[in-house]
């Protein structure tokens, strides 16, 4: 199992290529079987990776057997393993949902889906800043495909905004990389961290500028205020299964911020220590408030859910910016929760939209909702969870976060988090009552399309994750505690990385 760290990238990539080969000759059924084989393999690999990391703390995989600072290094810590597993878990119901029919209507769906997973995992696993950029791009381009394959009209328009915005952000990413490499002379994040720590003062200005641009990029991908304008439409227009998968995309930006600004610009970074958090805490809070407003004002359920994604991103910004291990740990618990639940809501919105006789998920129209009991129940569970109401995972995450707020910030951070919860309650109760309740008591004569079993199961699986996270909150929190503590221990990374010697090559002098 020496090669475990690279498998979460290779497995989906190979299956993506295989599916592309197969789609030339085989029917949808065969494709689905292979897609599931790939999916299950990835899930198994992700679980094994998490277990191994839990045993060994930090896995360093020297690609090409080059010493860490020369080549590209995969660096798997608890955070990475958590993100990889979250992605795999999320992908299962998404694939399930897509296999209910969308996969036949979107050209290259299966290949793109696997590639998207490969990109995400690559971003989570790499220890190299430029390689992070590359996998960002893999992930993004696959997401363009998933968003736009089979698209028409409004979705194409949303795609335009999404794509151009992300390309512009990528340009800034490259600028930042150029500056940072120019000043630090390496791209390995850990090595960069070590060099930043001892950078002479006359060089810090440029490094700081590079770090600032990098922050811009990650914030743009994570949809932080005011860089979130692309998100609502893109997420609301994406095919349901894709929108659900996208819920993890903003989290990649957050992941990157957490990674870069704890490792490279963390406590040990001298004059550049903790440069990001002072910016992020207030903007994160503002994002939360604005997103909550968005939830309230949403004309469509899916727009509302998109704002919920935004809200969770804002909450995570707050959590990570607080900078203490407990808050980061709370954030790391909250992250998969919000991914799963908002994904469930996206899928539900699609199911609901199809059962409202052509009115979709627009909230203004009064439309008879056929077969509403199960969707309504699922909506209720998801809404309770995402609003942070007890007893579900959202509550536990927020609870932990509230507890972790330092005294100095307690007042306003609590106000923001609790206030946004209230606004979400207001918004979602309106959404729910409009969708499920505001109809005639007498059922219509129109025969209702049956709920597709795969789709409902997908939602159930996602909500099941949330419930499992509630029940097993304690072990999960213990894991995230360890992950947070690990993140803050920068010397640990530097030492491990420098001590990891190539197998046959000479180590760096």
């Amino acid at each position: 199992m020496q090669h475990l760290p690279v498998l979460p990238v290779l497995v989906p990539l190979v299956f993506g290529a295989l599916l592309l080969l197969l789609e030339r000759t085989h029917r949808a059924k065969v494709l689905r079987i292979w897609a599931w084989i790939g999916m299950v393999s990835l899930l198994v690999v992700s679980v094994m990776l998490l277990m191994q990391v839990h045993r060994e703390d930090l896995l360093v995989y020297l690609l090409g057997d080059w010493p860490a600072r020369l080549g590209i290094t995969l660096m798997v810590d608890r955070l990475s393993a958590l993100m990889v597993l979250t992605t795999a878990l999320l992908a299962v119901p998404c694939l399930m949902y897509a296999c209910a029919g969308w996969d036949k209507r979107a050209l290259h769906f299966h290949a793109l889906f696997q590639m998207q997973l490969a990109g995400l995992n690559g971003a989570f696993l790499t220890g190299d800043l430029f390689n992070l950029f590359v996998f960002f791009e893999v992930m993004l381009i696959a997401s363009y495909g998933l968003l736009l394959s089979g698209a028409r009209g409004a979705r194409v328009k949303a795609g335009m905004h999404y794509v151009v915005f992300n390309i512009a952000a990528s340009v800034v990413f490259l600028l930042a990389l150029g500056l940072l490499y120019g000043m630090l002379g390496t791209l390995n994040m850990t090595e960069m961290a070590a060099r930043i720590a001892i950078a002479p003062p006359e060089r810090t200005v440029l490094i700081h500028a590079g770090a600032g641009l990098l922050l811009l990029v990650f914030c743009a991908k994570a949809a932080l205020l005011p860089l979130y304008l692309w998100l609502p439409e893109a997420y609301a227009r994406a095919p349901a299964a894709v929108a659900a998968l996208f819920t993890v995309m903003t989290k990649v930006g957050l992941y990157a911020i957490l990674r870069v600004y704890t490792l490279m610009f963390g406590e040990a970074a001298g004059p550049l220590a903790n440069i990001a958090w002072d910016w992020l805490l207030p903007t994160g809070a503002a994002t939360v408030v604005l997103a909550a407003l968005g939830v309230i004002g949403a004309p469509r359920m899916r727009i509302g859910v998109a704002y919920l994604v935004l809200l969770s991103a804002g909450t995570l910004f707050v959590a990570f910016s607080l900078g203490n291990a407990a808050a980061i740990s709370a954030g790391l618990y909250y992250l998969p929760h919000s991914v799963f639940v908002s994904a469930a809501l996206f899928l539900l919105a699609d199911v609901i939209g199809r059962h409202r006789g052509g009115n979709g998920d627009y909230l203004v129209e009064i439309a008879p909702m056929t077969r509403k009991t199960l969707p309504a129940a699922l909506f209720l569970i998801a809404a309770v969870s995402i609003a942070g109401l007890p007893p579900l995972s959202g509550f536990i995450g927020k609870l932990r976060l509230l507890e972790a707020v330092p005294d100095a910030q307690t007042g306003w951070v609590w106000a923001v988090i609790l206030g946004s919860s209230l606004m979400v309650i207001i918004g979602l109760s309106r959404t729910g009552t409009r969708l499920f309740w505001r109809v005639d008591a007498t059922p219509s004569d129109v025969p209702a399309p049956a709920l597709r079993r795969a789709e409902v199961t997908a939602v159930l699986v996602l909500l099941g994750y949330g419930i499992a996270m509630t029940v097993f909150a304690n072990p999960i929190l213990r894991y995230t505690d360890a992950a947070a503590a690990q993140l803050l221990d920068v010397p640990g990374y530097i030492d491990t990385l420098r001590e990891t010697a190539p197998q046959i090559r000479e180590p760096s002098p």
């Binding site: 430029f130 590359v134 028409r152 151009v164 390309i167 490259l174 990389l177 120019g182 129209e365």
Partner: protein
């Protein structure tokens, strides 16, 4: 020389940004192209470019940075060029589709003067 490179980057970036902020898809694509030139030059510049020292090793010349320029930024730029190309291709096609589906080449998919809001829906 550094001044020339820096100003070239500046001009490319400024022009790119200006075009990026235009309202038409094609202008935006042009802007992105110029911006990616600026970006590539900046990454390239991070290797402290010199004239006439390509990083192709020759016998009898010590393999040090005194005799060869920094290969790493060049490799990075290569990757960046390719990725920028891929992105351009996708953007171009989206622009085509947007124009076909929505009958406008405005980046927002609708002409600003005849805004057709989806009334209440």
């Amino acid at each position: 020389m550094e001044l020339a490179i820096a100003t070239a980057i500046g001009v490319l970036a400024a022009s790119g940004i200006y075009l990026l902020l235009r309202a038409r898809t094609f202008d935006v694509i042009l802007g992105l192209t110029l911006l990616s030139y600026a970006t590539n030059l900046l990454i390239f510049a991070s290797g402290r470019p010199v004239v006439g020292k390509p990083p192709v090793l020759r016998d009898g010349v010590a393999h040090t940075l005194a005799n060869y320029s920094d290969p790493l930024p060049q490799a990075l730029v290569l990757t960046a060029i390719v990725i920028a190309f891929a992105m351009t291709a996708v953007t171009v096609v989206i622009a085509m589709r947007e124009h076909a589906d929505l009958h406008t080449d405005h980046v927002d998919g609708e002409e600003p003067d005849n805004e057709k809001r989806r009334g209440g829906a």
